[in-house]
């Protein structure tokens, strides 16, 4: 029941918010998201730390077609549900200073999207997964298309083309797999895991399914929608996309690709790793010279996600657990970064690095928060980013020395673009744009403090989270390698 509650509560609340206006819509949406978070925490507390799927529901949906409404959570799902439920209220809170037209619709869409994302993290039937995958997309198209920046229409269109393209291939892949199930066809996950496809068939099915996930993450060279969309979307939209939604792609690989076509994975792992590592270096190098803070962070995200993708395909414990913990860390850090950028934009009216400087003289707590999130992103030990990068790089290095060493360049390049950006924005002499930059307000601190707590929590005691997913990851690896 808990899973169903987590899934439908945001939708119900969303319907209510849809009818509201202005402040009331904001506050109701925030309240609903906080309740969702509390439910998620309750689920985490009552979760048994083993590999089993828990809080499971399996109701016949389209009985004759063998499609069931099958949902439930193991440790992997639970971590992502926690991340979603943790970030959504903060994202809503972070938008409190903004006034959006049709606030009711705006906040309702966020809640609908939350349902879609949670749905895809708990789905245990391929068509249920596909359904929520698409459901999560619809609201974000509207959020970007209606409330985005000046170039929102062409940019949203590009985003739309990309994602729909990937989704279609995934659908074809799923339909094919569905028809391969023995007896009465079914799209249940266990049936997909028990398929014994020939390696030749796994080989092409791999790409049909992976394409959708590769675009969502995104993996080089399927990424060019991402910088534009992140830059043009309204900041809550950017946070939803980068903080949570891209994890749907990573999660998809873990749940719906690796165990379903293991022979296909074995054939293509090297290719994907090379693409992912190119993405790490490519994103990082491009980020160095970007002038728009949002675009810089977008390329930084491509670089970081590349490492997560590489870790997935190493198929070893460190790589996969590294991916799990890094999904959380990346979500926290990137949402924090985009929020800080939004604060800068609201105070100064610009996101251009060249126009900024000297902010630290006026805003001490802003500096501290920025520094901490920067250190998390640059993977300094005892912050969240380090645990993930350490495990991921260790996983990749175990897979292949050279790949590990090249991927490791991220720790150098990351410090190049981040410290360069930080210096230009925060240090030096202030100018007319940045003079009298006001320090963080109480509501801004309310967003940043939980994020910062998590930066250090994961950095100091990652086992809280690693222990949740470890049995499930172990189980997954045994399925892949059987």
């Amino acid at each position: 029941m808990l899973t169903a509650l987590l899934l439908f509560w945001p939708a119900l609340a969303g319907l209510l918010v849809l009818l509201m206006k202005g402040e009331a819509a904001k506050k109701t949406a925030f309240g609903a998201a906080v309740i969702e978070f509390l439910i998620a925490v309750y689920a985490a507390v009552s979760f048994e730390p083993n590999a089993a799927t828990q809080f499971e529901i399996n109701q016949p949906w389209i009985q004759n077609a063998g499609i069931s409404f099958h949902i439930g959570m193991d440790g992997i799902s639970l971590l992502l549900v926690l991340l979603t439920a943790f970030l959504v209220p903060l994202i809503i809170l972070s938008s409190f200073k903004h006034t959006y037209n049709n606030a009711g619709t705006f906040y309702a869409l966020i809640l609908f999207m939350q349902m879609g994302m949670i749905g895809s993290f708990v789905a245990l039937d391929a068509f249920v997964f596909y359904f929520f995958w698409e459901v999560a997309l619809i609201p974000i198209y509207f959020i970007c298309g209606i409330w985005g920046g000046e170039r929102r229409v062409p940019v949203t269109f590009k985003f739309f083309i990309y994602t729909i393209f990937g989704s279609l291939f995934m659908l074809v892949g799923f339909v094919y797999l569905y028809f391969q199930t023995p007896g009465t066809h079914t799209s249940d996950i266990s049936a997909f895991y028990n398929l014994a496809l020939s390696p030749e068939n796994q080989s092409w099915v791999f790409w049909f399914i992976f394409l959708a996930f590769a675009i969502k993450m995104p993996v080089f060279p399927f990424h060019t929608w991402q910088p534009d969309t992140y830059t043009e979307a309204p900041t809550p939209g950017t946070m939803l996309l980068s903080g949570i939604m891209l994890k749907m792609g990573i999660y998809g690989v873990i749940r719906w690709l690796l165990p379903v076509v293991p022979a296909g994975v074995a054939q293509w792992a090297d290719v994907v790793l090379v693409l992912a590592i190119i993405g790490i270096i490519y994103g990082a190098i491009i980020a160095i010279r970007q002038n728009d803070l949002k675009r810089l962070t977008a390329f930084s995200s491509i670089s970081h996600v590349g490492l997560i993708a590489a870790g997935l395909f190493t198929l070893n414990m460190q790589g996969l657990q590294g991916a799990m913990i890094q999904m959380l860390s990346h979500g926290i850090n990137v949402v924090g970064m985009f929020f800080l950028i939004d604060i800068i934009f609201r105070r100064t009216g610009t996101r251009e690095i060249k126009a900024l400087g000297g902010i630290t003289q006026y805003a001490k707590f802003f500096t501290i928060a920025f520094m901490i999130l920067l250190l998390g992103t640059v993977a300094l030990p005892l912050t969240n980013g380090f645990v993930g990068e350490f495990l991921l790089l260790s996983g990749v290095f175990q897979y292949n020395y050279i790949m590990g060493a090249v991927a490791g360049l991220t720790i150098i390049l990351g410090s190049v673009y981040l410290f360069r950006m930080f210096q230009r924005v925060m240090f030096g002499e202030a100018n007319t744009t940045t003079a009298k930059f006001t320090d963080l307000t109480a509501s801004e601190l309310a967003v940043l403090i939980p994020l910062i707590i998590l930066v250090f929590w994961i950095g100091l005691h990652p086992n809280t989270f690693l222990n949740i997913s470890e049995p499930a990851v172990q189980n997954l690896l045994s399925i892949i390698k059987r």
Partner: protein
């Protein structure tokens, strides 16, 4: 090797071990959050007090340490556990960490006290103490950690503090650039360190020292693997300890306030690379190729950096190159397996180099911020305490007996002499240059007539007690510090060497040859005599040039030939800029303009257009009717389901 023990009164020991780094951390939080609000007296009390208590606790650990024991570990909690990888957050107390603890907290405390005077007029007083405390915390984690991952925490932590303190006056762009450069260059080394940790885990199934080192001598591991591990570790050391080719950040790091230069960039942080090799001495002993490499890099750095120091005019720059050179000396010692000797030099160098930097700080303080020695001169009358103490530091670093540097440097040169006579000759050359640039510094600063402005002359004053007292303490240490390691000709009892011996038991078993004393007394006396004479000749040459002939280095841009090449540091920064920095920057722009916007985007976009069925559908989308497409998609799902239902 004996297994590392867990102490009997584990809980109490764990608490003390935890408090030692935690106290400075608490100091950091208090001073950091209270910056600008807390009065200076409170800031000083918290900043210095926390380090003092850590120092006292360290002394307690030292006194209660059972002699001859191999040490003990205390686990605080399990930090990272994934599959077979388990990294505890644990401390290891043994001979090496104990002495490092005393050094870091002891010298750290002295420099904290000095800073209270030096920084008293700075508006960022609280922030400065916060960062200093954070540094002490990180450095303590580095030396106390019981595994390589813990060392890495401290390793990167001190790198961060170095960044924050070099760029302390962050309105000034060149300072910020220096800070950024330091961080990035260190990160290059850190990548090597990180890869070494991965290899260690893959080879030994653990990153905990005791587990790695007990297995190392017996586990059948290819010599290539051990060479790779030790070389990668050494790459980390090259970054942190500013060795060729990763040294250029250290001279730039002099942008930070002078106490920072003394504490971080002379006495403690930069010696972390030596600490790392000493900690891993078992592995290094098994990798003779790496050792030879370490020796060559160390020697080359010692000579190269000393030569740059010959003609620098900025008082801190001279000391910076001197530090790079002296660190090279320490690696040279490591390379010839004179492990405890290298550590001996770490200690004596910490005393005399901290002293010299703090002395330079006192001079700069008196000169209202002036750092160019061409504008100084004759300061010994106005700054008598600074002069005397710095003179002691100079005698110590130049290797004049009985000051501290003589003993450690002489011991290094003796070991190098046994290893390779040509290397010894180059070592002696570095020693000659060291003595020259140090006496040049002393003569230009304290002798001759005053060459500064009238205003500077008016302001000349000896520094306050909080600054001179640390100078005096360090001067005493620089005078007597050498007696903890008397050479065999004077005494069979090398107290430091004996104390450290258990650290090197395994290395000694692997290679007993390297640990024996082969040198007869006559050779030893001869070597000592040569190095003292060489140092004295250099001092005399400096005296003739800068005191008798009263020559002052030429004005900017008038140098010629070799002098110009050296004055401009062999143009290494310019070289790095044109072969690394500029190409990366060009690549960044190029990839974005030509690959991202020129190739990938149009190709993918075009591909999308074709598959999506051309123009007509697109126009529907472009008009904003995205929703209709999504409806189509959901309808598509339903259609598939229905079709499937009918087909059955």
């Amino acid at each position: 090797m004996q297994q590392i023990q867990v102490p009997e009164n584990n809980a109490a020991m764990a608490l003390i071990c935890l408090l030692i780094p935690l106290l400075p951390f608490i100091g950091f939080v208090i001073n950091g959050l209270g910056n600008g609000k807390l009065p200076k007296s409170v800031v000083t009390l918290v900043g210095c007090g926390s380090v003092l208590v850590s120092f006292l606790l360290s002394i307690y650990l030292f006194i209660s340490f059972p002699a001859g024991s191999v040490g003990y570990t205390t686990e605080i909690f399990n930090w990272i556990k994934v599959g077979s990888l388990s990294i505890p957050f644990a401390f290891q107390i043994d001979q090496l960490s104990l002495i490092m603890l005393l050094l870091v907290t002891g010298v750290g405390f002295i420099i904290h006290v000095y800073s209270a005077g030096y920084m008293s007029h700075d508006p960022g007083f609280g922030k400065f103490f916060a960062f200093l405390n954070l540094f002490i915390f990180s450095m303590l984690l580095l030396v106390m950690g019981a595994n390589y991952a813990m060392m890495f925490i401290g390793w990167e932590g001190v790198g961060l503090c170095s960044y924050l303190l070099i760029g302390f006056w962050n309105k000034v762009t060149p300072y910020n650039n220096a800070a950024k450069k330091a961080f990035i260059m260190n990160r290059i080394g850190d990548l090597g360190f990180l890869l070494a940790i991965f290899l260690i885990f893959m080879t030994y199934g653990s990153v905990t020292y005791s587990e790695v080192f007990t297995q190392a001598p017996t586990l059948p591991v290819s010599s290539e693997m051990i060479t790779a591990i030790t070389l990668l570790l050494f790459v980390g050391a090259m970054g942190k300890s500013a060795q060729l080719p990763l040294y250029t950040w250290l001279p730039d790091a002099m942008a930070g306030p002078t106490p920072v230069s003394a504490l971080i960039h002379a006495a403690t942080m930069v010696t972390a690379g030596i600490y790392m090799v000493l900690r891993s001495n078992v592995l290094y002993t098994m990798a003779p190729i790496t050792l030879e490499f370490v020796a060559i890099i160390g020697l080359a750095t010692a000579v190269f950096a000393a030569s740059i120091g010959l003609f620098q005019n900025d008082i801190k720059k001279v000391l910076a190159y001197s530090t790079v050179s002296q660190l090279g000396y320490m690696f040279l010692a490591l390379g010839v397996m004179a492990y405890s000797t290298s550590f001996f030099h770490v200690l004596t160098h910490a005393f005399f180099k901290a002293l010299l930097f703090l002395g330079a700080g006192s001079v700069i303080h008196a000169m209202s911020g002036e750092q160019d020695m061409r504008n100084m001169g004759g300061l010994r009358k106005a700054l008598p305490v600074t002069f005397i103490t710095m003179l002691i530091g100079t005698l110590a670093i130049s290797g004049i007996p009985p000051f501290a540097g003589f003993f450690s440097k002489d011991e290094i040169l003796a070991h190098v002499f046994e290893h390779n006579k040509i290397m010894w000759a180059f070592g002696l050359l570095a020693s000659f240059m060291t003595s020259f640039y140090m006496f040049r510094l002393m003569f230009l600063t304290f002798f001759g007539g005053f060459r500064g402005t009238e205003e500077q002359r008016h302001h000349l004053h000896e520094s306050p007690k909080s600054m001179t007292l640390p100078l005096i303490i360090l001067a005493i240490l620089s005078t007597i510090g050498g007696f903890m390691g008397l050479p065999p000709v004077f005494s069979e009892n090398h107290s430091l060497g004996n104390f450290l011996a258990p650290l090197f038991t395994a290395s000694q078993q692997l290679n007993p040859e390297a640990f024996g004393h082969h040198m007869d007394h006559a050779t030893e006396y001869m070597l000592m005599g040569i190095s003292v004479v060489v140092a004295l000749i250099a001092a005399i040459i400096a005296y003739v040039i800068y005191v008798s002939k009263k020559s002052v280095p030429a004005a900017e841009g008038t140098e010629t030939g070799l002098h110009k090449l050296i004055y401009n540091k062999y143009y290494i920064d310019e070289l790095y800029d044109s072969i690394i920095v500029k190409p990366v920057m060009g690549l960044s722009t190029g990839l974005y303009r030509f690959v991202e916007k020129g190739i990938i985007d149009p190709v993918v976009h075009g591909f999308g257009r074709i598959t999506m069925g051309g123009g007509r559908g697109l126009r529907v989308l472009q008009s904003g009717a995205i929703g209709s497409y999504l409806l189509t998609m959901v309808a598509g799902i339903i259609l598939i389901l229905v079709l499937n239902y009918i087909m059955r």
